[in-house]
């Protein structure tokens, strides 16, 4: 088991954002979390990093209880996040952003890791010395993914990676998710509004509604489920 959340509750200000979440991710899986805006998807991802801290329940990562650890300690255990809105360091160069991804990585792997990221995203190598803030939205998303990969994470979290991108980049993102999982055995937890594509690429999925998991199953099962179809696929998200 890579990750398990057991009865996790979390509050965001006065909002009871997560109400008893049970989610499990096995090694080598792509798991997706779908749900409407405000269902608590991003809060769930951030609660894994202890921000906000779980007010009840526990989170176990790679055999260790991480519920009470600080954000940077959790990151150092081997979880990397590609956050919503990308959050690249706009006033630093592309290369410096990637170096920031390797903060807690073994320096001996640095050359190999940067070569791997550049092979995956050649545009980043071309723009290496450019300030990251001058990249287009799609390029920034590539940078955010590259940055997350620099630490060789055991678990990669992607929060709305396709949001606001041109179709060509959206296709590329889902292709990368598939490649990372298939060729590198990367375990991935993917949060998406684009439920159709997410369920197609994922092994399993969870549906989150008002801070609770209302449905779980394989990607194919959820795609076929009438409730999912009605709520997330036929409303124009597909």
């Amino acid at each position: 088991m890579m990750l398990s959340m057991e009865g996790v509750h979390a509050h965001y200000g006065h909002i009871h954002a997560l109400r008893g979440i049970d989610v499990a991710v096995q090694v080598g899986e792509i798991v997706t979390l779908i749900g409407a805006n405000g269902a608590g998807k991003s809060t769930l991802m951030m609660s894994l990093f202890g921000s906000p801290k779980a007010s009840a329940g526990r989170i176990v990562f790679d055999g260790e209880d991480i519920t009470r650890l600080g954000t940077h300690e959790i990151a150092r255990r081997g979880i990397a996040l590609v956050p919503e809105g990308r959050r690249i360091f706009a006033r630093m160069t592309v290369l410096e952003n990637l170096q920031m991804g390797a903060v807690h990585a073994d320096p001996a792997n640095y050359d190999a890791d940067i070569a791997r990221v550049y092979a995956m995203f050649p545009i980043l190598q071309e723009r290496e010395a450019q300030r990251a803030g001058t990249l287009s939205g799609g390029e920034q998303q590539m940078l955010a993914i590259g940055r997350a990969l620099m630490s060789r994470p055991k678990l990669l979290l992607l929060d709305e990676p396709s949001l606001g991108l041109a179709p060509i980049y959206i296709r590329r993102i889902f292709q990368i998710v598939r490649e990372l999982n298939r060729d590198h055995g990367m375990t991935i937890l993917l949060v998406e509004q684009n439920a159709n594509q997410a369920l197609r690429v994922a092994h399993r999925g969870y549906v989150l509604q008002h801070g609770e998991i209302t449905l779980a199953g394989s990607g194919a099962e959820l795609l076929a489920s009438p409730e999912v179809r009605a709520a997330y696929l036929e409303g124009g998200h597909g």
């Binding site: 940077h72 150092r76 360091f89 706009a90 006033r91 630093m92 920031m100 630490s151």
Partner: protein
């Protein structure tokens, strides 16, 4: 002309010291968005540490000036950094995540505390030390005026330039500098990447204090007197320098320090010496009104 050249030298010396203190203001502002009003008093504390160290050396009969200066610098940097660390740890960190105003008030409290602590333990009178380095070089002599650069002045300017180069290199080229800048831009994201944000902030305070300590030693050697109140004026002038250069900008703090030093020297030489502080505060008001982002600050366009 000769007189102006002399003022240039005096202004550069003054500006170097303001610049060193200003870096502490600007770095702390950059990383946690607060003005550390106790920073001037940290500088004052460092001057007292320097005086104490000089006294100890005199008692131990050390006569080599380079040796003495090195020793005093190391002692001052070490203890002043510890002060910087402790101030952040006790007065600011517990307030992180509360309103923006809270640490500001705490900083003013810390400033008053340090002034009073030093006044109580060291006394309210000015403390003199005998001149450490005497003499200088005559650069240019006209019948009316002789331009001279003192060895102390030369030492101050050279040390400051070297420190600023080293410091710029550290911030732009090293892993720590990168983490420091990342925390400045997005602390939350830096933590998500595994950066220990609290430690980075602590280290920033210690660095700012270390540079203030160098300025404290310089002031002690240059003027030969210190008292518990010197941190207030020097602090506000360095703060003005940081604002003039663009608060949050490192090159801005250096440039601002230089400009404030020069303006003060020339104002005192050609206008009214007794109103030289008015010049600095007039600039502070003007910058805040006309160009709040300062000379090198950034109202910058970024794609989101």
């Amino acid at each position: 002309m000769a007189y102006a050249l002399q003022q240039l030298i005096n202004g550069l010396t003054l500006g170097a010291m303001y610049g060193l203190i200003a870096i502490g203001y600007t770095m702390v502002y950059g990383i946690i968005g607060m003005i550390n009003f106790a920073h001037g008093d940290i500088f004052m504390v460092s001057a007292f540490i320097a005086i104490t160290a000089f006294t100890l050396l005199a008692a131990a009969d050390v006569t080599s000036i380079p040796l003495a200066l090195t020793f005093v610098l190391i002692v001052a940097i070490f203890f002043t950094s510890a002060y910087g660390w402790a101030v952040e740890r006790t007065a600011y960190r517990p307030l992180r995540g509360s309103t923006r105003l809270a640490p500001l008030i705490s900083a003013i409290g810390m400033s008053i505390f340090l002034q009073n602590a030093v006044q109580l333990t060291q006394g309210a009178r000015v403390k003199p030390i005998p001149p450490v380095i005497e003499g200088g070089v005559e650069l240019w002599s006209t019948p009316a005026f002789t331009v001279q650069i003192g060895w102390t002045q030369l030492l101050i300017i050279v040390t400051t330039v070297a420190l600023m180069i080293a410091f710029t290199w550290m911030i732009t080229q090293t892993a720590f500098g990168r983490q420091q800048r990342a925390c400045e831009q997005d602390r939350g994201m830096a933590a998500l990447l595994g950066v220990n944000v609290d430690r980075t902030i602590s280290f920033t305070f210690m660095l700012g204090a270390a540079l203030a300590a160098v300025a404290g030693v310089m002031v002690t050697v240059y003027y030969g007197v210190v008292d518990f109140f010197i941190g207030f004026l020097a602090g506000i002038k360095a703060f003005t320098a940081a604002v003039l250069g663009g608060i949050g900008s490192l090159p801005g703090a250096m440039l601002g320090g230089l400009l404030i030093g020069l303006i003060e020297a020339f104002w005192a030489a050609y206008l009214w010496a007794e109103y030289k502080d008015v010049a600095t505060f007039g600039i502070l008001c003007l910058v805040l009104m006309l160009r709040p982002s300062g000379l090198l600050g950034r109202p910058e366009v970024e794609k989101v």
